[in-house]
Amino acid sequence: MEFTFISAFLMNVPILLASYLVNLALTGALLYRKPDLQRAAVLLNPYILFVAIPATWLFLQDLVGYFGAFILETYLEVTGWALAMKHIYRVRWGSAFATAALTVFLYGTFQELTGFFLTGNYDLTVPGDLAAYMTGECIGVLIPAVFVVWFIIRSRLFEEYAGFLSEDSGGKTGKILLFLIPAARNLAVEISNEHMVLNNSNPMVSILLLLLIYGVFNYMFRCKMQDRKLEEQKLNLSQQKLYIQNLESVQKEVRLFRHDFKNMMAGASLQARDGNLTAVQEFISEVTGDFEQQVGRQIFQISQIGNVGLTELKGLLILKMTELQKKEIPFRLEVPFPFEHPGIPERELCRAAGILLDNAAEAAELLEDGEVTAVFEEGEEVVRIMIRNPVIEEVPFSRIWKDGYSTKGEGRGTGLTSFQRIVERYENVASFTRQEDGYFIQELKIMKRGGKTYGSHLSL
């Protein structure tokens, strides 16, 4: 049978449908997110047209066997899927292209598995070969895909992958490498086939390459994870040290207080015997006041820190607390309830909170009676973080968000820009910054569950 453009195109449709499904499932597993199925349905047709038209043309020109065409087709798929997933999963461009390259690479490897059952090239003009080819391309690929999706989820590879994507520095090289992987596979197959076109496939080479890449990436991830664990342990140790120091100072104060207390008690009991009630009353309020002053405040801060159930955040808060103590800026931290589930990755939360705290500290340093107040509160549905510092002058809202703005001159203050980047990354996060009643107030709100979160309207 002869192929016309229409029939070749129609043949490509189910194949691309299968590739779309495989890509969708793999991306979902890698990002560990549910796709926006409505968007996925809308984008299916454009995706098929985008890839199928050039592919059909290449096929009819009998160019499929050529390496250049082979690469072109692969990257057409990568681009098509990157564009689609950008909208389906709402990710950044870099992540979209890297992930698309990875899923297309995996998909290509699945396609190659049919090579195990082949002795020669398909002749698509023969109905039997065509049927076998279509079965392999449309249904065969789904089986390994299901297995790989299961594997990614079971071995929690998506966690490592998320770490890989979220890295700001150094992540770029990794993403570019990932983007080149499909080309590497094409090249490896091409070379080992000694330029002979065997359905463009060589399953052994593909599988070996897959294993190699998996090994390398896994090794990289593991190394990084170990570093992170070490760092965490160090943090934990320093945290405990600070904690103990704090407790020791409380103990010292209590001991001192006990000493004073005994003396004062003796005086008061004399006055009570004389019937001097006013003096006794004064004594009581004095003692309670002193106790609050000396010990109560510290106990309070320690108990607030105790409510933070996240190691990294706890470390950050203790660190900032000691930094502010050194600068003699009063710091008031309130964590009224256990704070354990922030709704965004802990690292991101720490970065955001760190930026806000640094800003507040920087501003407080300039004032004579500067102070910093921080509230961390986890509600049932919303996580709220508020950082506040007094200000005297009008805050220049037009400038503080510009890169490099700082009250301390140049080269600092890239903070708010990175802060904004973090906020924008998550749809369930909103930030409120304002000047009110002599304070500069920065708030971060994170919604823990899905659903419509927002609305705005005019009112009188």
């Binding site: 509160e377 909103a430 919604m447 979160t453």
Partner: protein
């Protein structure tokens, strides 16, 4: 008549606060009345339910109650009376009050350790309530409301400079004179609801006409009263020039 509610399980404290309140209301001639002084939260909530008016609440922080703490009682009251004034009474000077203020918009807290200080605190709170209610009465500006989960912010429309769409879809940044909010929303919907005072000067910007100081036609920039800038598109130029002419 603004109703005042008390909740404290210690009858002596309750009586003392009540006496002070009534004395102060009489002396200053406030339009207020102690509506109920309750020992427990349920009783109090029942009373509030009956009145259904905006009230002033003096609440004990450490309620000896199975179901309610001072904080959750505050939340329950907020549900019935979103604009009421919450004042907390506590035995300890150290209270996580910022969290109370922050989430419940509590007005203040009073320490009951020393009676004289406690009474002074009560008087101060009443004065603050009166002042705030006076301010609200005089305020007839139009407000723009941003809602994110349980957070609601009202921003006077004439203090908004412009809205910007963020790098990602459905991200909106509100640029205000003293405020900036980064939230999820749609600029289309904003444009429709804000009406004629706001002009879509660019695909990514919706500007408050009254806050525009001048146009930099060469660089195609809108310059706002506080010095902030945003781009304007070719298609918006005509409309902007016309509006500026009308204003001038």
């Amino acid at each position: 008549m603004v109703p005042i509610y008390l909740c404290d399980d210690d009858p002596q404290i309750r009586a003392a606060i009540r006496r002070e309140l009534e004395k102060e209301i009489l002396i200053k001639g406030y339009d207020m009345k102690v509506a109920a002084a309750c020992a427990g939260p349920e009783e109090l909530l029942e009373e509030i339910q009956k009145s259904g008016r905006r009230g002033i609440y003096f609440l004990d922080v450490d309620l000896k109650h199975e179901q309610y703490t001072g904080f959750t009682l505050g939340q329950a009251i907020r549900k019935m009376d979103p604009r009421g004034f919450l004042i907390y009474v506590t035995a300890f000077g150290e209270l996580a009050f910022e969290a109370f203020r922050y989430q419940l918009e509590a007005l203040d807290y009073i320490v009951k350790e020393n009676p004289e200080e406690m009474f002074a605190g009560i008087r101060k709170c009443l004065a603050a309530v009166v002042e705030r209610m006076q301010d609200e009465k005089e305020d007839d500006r139009v407000y723009f409301t941003v809602k994110f989960m349980d957070t609601v912010r009202h921003i006077p429309v004439d203090e908004i400079l412009f809205f910007e769409t963020g790098a990602k879809s459905h991200r909106i940044i509100l640029h205000g004179l003293r405020e900036r909010i980064d939230f999820t929303g749609s600029i289309q919907e904003l444009e429709e609801s804000l009406g004629r005072g706001f002009v879509r000067v660019h695909r990514a910007y919706l500007a408050n006409v009254r806050q525009i100081k001048c146009l930099n036609v060469k660089e195609r920039k809108v310059i706002f009263t506080n010095g902030e800038e945003c781009w304007f598109s070719r298609s918006a130029k005509k409309e902007l020039l016309r509006l500026k002419a009308v204003q001038a």
